[in-house]
């Protein structure tokens, strides 16, 4: 810390943390029920679940609110994951995880997942209010 050094709020980190925190809340509130219902109860046939049949699933996925919901869930979640995994790597003793290239790779990865999500949501089952 020299005399010339002028401290400045790190806006980039602020943004990453904001996305991470929101992603954390969203995944905390929403993930377990998806995994439980779609990953366990549905496949085991304990309860009927929309994704067990093409018709019901397509019907739900066509709803624009569902598309928006999925985009929010996946979008924030992947910023959360990118952030945690980057810090996890640093905790494992890889200081490079704190570098700018690592930031580009991890958060860029999250952005790629978001773009892919948008593409899938737009190209899978046209929007309908039926």
């Amino acid at each position: 810390m020299n005399a010339e050094h002028r401290p400045r709020t790190a806006i980039d980190h602020l943004f990453f943390w904001f996305m991470f925190a929101n992603g954390g809340v969203i995944t905390a509130l929403l993930m377990p029920v998806h995994v439980l219902v779609q990953g366990i109860l549905g496949p085991l046939g304990v309860v009927p679940v929309v994704d067990q049949h093409y018709d019901t699933y397509a019907n739900v996925i066509g709803n624009p609110l569902v598309k928006l919901y999925l985009l929010v869930l996946i979008g924030f979640a992947f910023f959360h994951f990118a952030h945690r995994l980057r810090y996890l790597l640093a905790d494992f003793g890889v200081p490079a995880a704190k570098s700018l290239p690592a930031q580009v790779i991890f958060y860029g990865g999250a952005v790629v997942v978001i773009l892919v999500t948008i593409w899938i949501l737009l190209t899978t089952i046209p929007i309908s209010f039926g």
Binding site: V25, A28, M31, P32, V49, H53, T56
Partner: protein, 118 residues
Amino acid sequence: MPLNWWTRQRHYFLYMLREFTALPMALWLIWLLYEISGLRSGAHGYTPPRSGLFVAFSVVVLLFSLYHSYTFLKLAGVIMRIKVLDRQIPSRVIVFTMFGAWAVASAVIAFVLIWFAR
């Protein structure tokens, strides 16, 4: 700092576990995306998720996911400072509200996933 620092103490290990939850959850969401994109090949091309391997994977993910929800909502309750009428809301109340919101959100989503399957 030795690189195995997190194996030396329970608390550190639990912290690393908490951070690690991101990975299985990410994999599961990627699978979800993959399933959704499967809808594009029409009724004949879509295979509903039913394999035992997938169920086993989901069980593991569910455990991580629950651990994430528990730790994150509890910690979120600790850090939020909300004042109503100039009085600090105790963090117990905030944590309780968070867990309540979790229950409500879970119920709504479960309802949608099951109700529209008829």
